[in-house]
Symmetry: D2
Subunit: 355 residues, 4 copies
């Protein structure tokens, strides 16, 4: 070892001793030319997920402590973490006949999306919200919520949360609610919907500055389906309205602001005519897509996977992503896009540029 090598070795040891790390040995890892996500593009098939959820329903109780019988998608690029992507948590939650998932609240924002079945009510801050096929339900950060199944049939659905984001930000608070159901009634429509689910109408009792999260507890499939159908019909009639050719899409929004329904999560439903496609797109930030109905083919980077109803796809940051529809294809998606927009970190490329 030359004297200068010795000095350098000593310097690095002294860095470590002093609680320091030099930039120049790690610059490329810390500041890559483009995002280098550890998360992988990955597909989970519903034919695998649902039977496992059923078995969990038989073997694992639901209740205080675990709180929820929720089985999270664990991205293979993030070993040991129950995270679909670095910011998004996605899980199948399963509630058996007569079961109750007890009341709690947390900083993390959450939604439920119902692939199939019905019969569970989510009680959000005391307001019972029915869950049915195709519905999107919100439980914004710090709202008390509990689920109960007053029927004789089990029910499963998709839970989406910003758990990894909030965890990475050390921003999580959690509180247990009362052990007894706040309201065990099973109304067809929640009170939130009765107040807010009227297009363009804002209750005078609810006017004021924009709220961070939507006050509308549920977005019903009947409305979503009608909105998507209308876009494709307009296209057939020669009018604008679709997001692209053969591609209808709606964003679930907060009626007090016109922005995303949840402060940290974007939620959308897309419909492709058979033979149509989502064009290749790269987005900074990650997303999860779920097939609501139909079949198609997804491409992410080099991977190509056939998709059927219920299949879930994790799309890491800046990976080229596209979908082709074999049949008419309905896709639900959620992402962390509001985070990037709020922090001036959003970028996207669409079409030839993105490939």
């Amino acid at each position: 070892m030359t004297p200068s090598e010795t000095a350098l070795k000593q310097l690095y040891e002294d860095f470590a001793e002093a609680g320091l790390l030099p930039l120049w040995t790690q610059r490329e890892d810390l500041m890559p030319m483009t995002p280098q996500p550890a998360a992988h593009a990955h597909v989970w098939h519903w034919r695998d997920l649902y039977p496992i959820a059923q078995r969990a329903g038989e073997l694992v109780p639901v209740g205080r402590g675990g709180e929820r019988r929720a089985i999270a998608l664990a991205n293979p690029g993030l070993p040991g973490e129950p995270y679909a992507t670095p910011t998004l948590w996605a899980a199948v939650q399963y509630l058996g006949p007569r079961e109750v998932a007890p009341s709690h609240r947390h900083s993390q924002g959450a939604f439920r999306f119902v692939l199939e079945g019905e019969g569970v009510w989510t009680v959000v801050d005391g307001d019972p919200v029915a869950m049915r096929r195709g519905d999107l339900l919100l439980t914004p950060g710090w709202a008390f919520h509990e689920h109960h199944n007053p029927t004789d049939r089990p029910m499963a659905w998709l839970d989406g949360l910003d758990i990894p984001l909030v965890s990475g930000l050390d921003a999580g608070f959690f509180e247990f609610g009362p052990d007894r159901l706040a309201d065990s009634s099973t109304p067809d429509r929640s009170r939130a919907e009765r107040l807010w689910a009227h297009p363009g109408l804002r209750p005078l009792s609810g006017v004021g500055a924009p709220a961070a999260n939507s006050p509308l507890a549920a977005y019903r499939w009947q409305h979503t389906d009608a909105a998507l159908s209308a876009q494709l019909e307009l296209e057939s009639e020669g009018h604008p309205g679709t997001a692209g050719e053969g591609h209808a899409a709606v964003r679930f929004t907060n009626p007090t602001s016109g922005g995303d329904a949840l402060a940290t999560l974007r939620t959308e439903m897309h419909r492709l005519r058979a033979g149509s496609a989502l064009p290749v797109t790269r987005v900074v930030g990650s997303a999860v897509w779920q097939v609501f109905s139909g079949t198609g083919t997804v491409r992410i980077g080099d991977r190509t996977v056939r998709l059927a109803t219920g299949d879930l796809v994790a799309v890491p940051s800046w990976q080229p992503f596209s979908v082709e529809a074999d049949t008419d294809l309905d896709l639900f998606t959620f992402s962390d896009a509001p985070v990037y927009e709020a922090l001036n970190l959003y970028r996207t490329k669409i079409g030839a540029d993105a490939s």
Copy 2:
């Protein structure tokens, strides 16, 4: 005349000569302790208005030049001006069988509110919008619009605009459109509604920054009625939601922002249970109210007037205003409140303070 009186007289003459006016002789008029509107509180009864509109339908043609068979409420405190208040224009517009009110556009924002009847389509930027009882239709500033009546029956409705405001601000632009109807079809729902009238759902083709005016061309009575009913039902069940006791109310809003449907005009529908009341309120800025159904009594300042369906009330700035409902009572109202909120000039007093 003393020398100083002479000097003063000369000073005032020189003021006039130089194009000047001293503040001290007019201070109280220019800057009153509280608003001293020239406009009067005034009521126009539908039983008077509608027959006159019918006669105008027989005697006055509609077409280029006059553009519209619209008969404006002329506030007796603003003689010679066809203004309901210093900022608001309100008129009964009447369109006979097979008539067309030709296409034009203007800076002034406008809406139509339908008290009774149906059978006219308003074509807004080429999109035909059916008009039916209880509907609110928008024609935002600078949108081309025309009305046509393809039926055998006449139809009348309320027009509301910000003509006096825009006139006072010297901000008016006007353009004639084509003489031929852009689209003579008579669809049940406009394309704008097909895209936007889904609660909380925003077409992906329409996401972006908030628009100044709502893209939703029509707010249908079916939705407004349902929203008001739901609030009163919630109240009956012991839940919050009404604006006051026995008082349901919705504001017509812009789904891209959650704010008022039009940049300069606030529009709302109120429902009072029989025996309930709008509490005494003073607001800076003026409003027009129209009884949609039912009977009641309005008090403005010292005046008390019985109201029936179709009656119109002008409420000048800062006048104590209240309404008592004899029967169940539905009231439409529009005002200039967004102007005052945007300019930091809004004030209000409610209840005992306002009397």
Copy 3:
């Protein structure tokens, strides 16, 4: 008279009787093709104004009732009204040695701009603000304010307010303050400046949502002059920064929002190199310009007027306006532009299009 003429005559009489006015006879006046301001383009020369103000100083006392010895520019197109334009009030205020203009507050927003002289303090909500040549001082709506001259010399300045706007909107409130000066001290800098006049620095005690009006009570000539000089120097060095060739300009802004210093009034200072020009511009809304130093020529519509220091120009809505600088020319201007921007009524044309 034919029967139909008789019927029509009767109809118009019945309109009047019922408090109605038809649109079709007035459409063009109510909704012109482009703004048709009643206000005229007009110039008031300082050589006329100042001597009259001096004479008023000798002949007219200042005090309660009249409140201010302010002599307003009265636009010849708005006879009887002390209004420079339909929205703007501009006056020369004159305060003699040892005089006090007593404390009051009002909804109307106000500023003072100092053409020459010094020695008066404006006390805004108890904070004494020195007035000196080239300074812009704010007294936002509803702030108590009073002026006192502790010196042996008189002082005059330009007052700008939104009196006509607030009057047209029936939004004015007024309150007398205490008869005794809140603070008779004569500090070099106000407390507001000591807290806020540091570039880009916001006191932690003053962070929060944007305020409607700027908390910075005074914008000093030393800073304005330096900012304008810097822009022209940058241009000379080949760098961007000027508003146009040979044209430096700054807007007085609210450090809590970056927007206009006052909610209803835009205030700016422009500097033209000798031989440079403000290009022909049309703007919806009106403005007042004052020459701060130098000479030039203004063109508004067909009028051309030579300008010297202190001269004031009223520019009505949508009139083509340009200025050519004979010498280096500093121009102060205020306008109602924030009103039009807030209400989605703003339009402008610059250059060849505007002529």
Copy 4:
């Protein structure tokens, strides 16, 4: 093993096989009752840092690849990561006589804060910005920047970036700039300052919608010091203005919005009178503090450490933090607070509640 134990074991194996992880075994880790940061409260002493930086200056070249001779604070709770906290990167950067740190740009937002010394210019998008004691310099995300030292003396400063945040979000882009200095001149003030460093004055060429990051490249110590002094003087005179008793503070803001100078980083300077204190505070999100001058004592959770000039403190999320000033004490701090505010995740407790 009972049959049900076997079934459960099999279930967990099948979870793993299917790429799933159950919530119920990890709920408390994923969603703690309050933030449980892995990062530690930690203090780095300048007496240790600066000599190491000097030795690095002798032993390690600066240039392409490593890009910067920056030595990062590595939080002992985040082993192997050069991160001061989970979102914040803080480093001492050292540039020897005549050295150049080459041009590049990246998504990550950055600032420089100068503890001592001078003689380096940072060239931001071609605009040379002098660095001197007490100055804060910005290099917002995606701005090209390079540093050069045209003097014979070395210089060191603090770099702050959002590298960990951007890395966790997979949002990093990086580009090398030209190898030659864009501008080797050494002006006293940058062009950005000449345009923007005038209190409340916005260049007309720079008006428009708020920018995500401040256009003001440097906040000079002369202004910061004056602002802090003024607050304490106002307090001494009995006027409001300080953040607390004996505690002056300013936030570095974006003059186009009044918000934080950088989209993801809050930057502030605090001044405590000898004997005064920052009250105990808990904040969601993390911060780094650096003593600019003076001595004091910091308490974070159970730890108490004496601080002297240049010492750096990492404060993890929700840890009780307070400082007592032995002498007059100036403290610079930066944090990720804008992130939490934008995402509706911000919470704080001050005083007794926070202990």
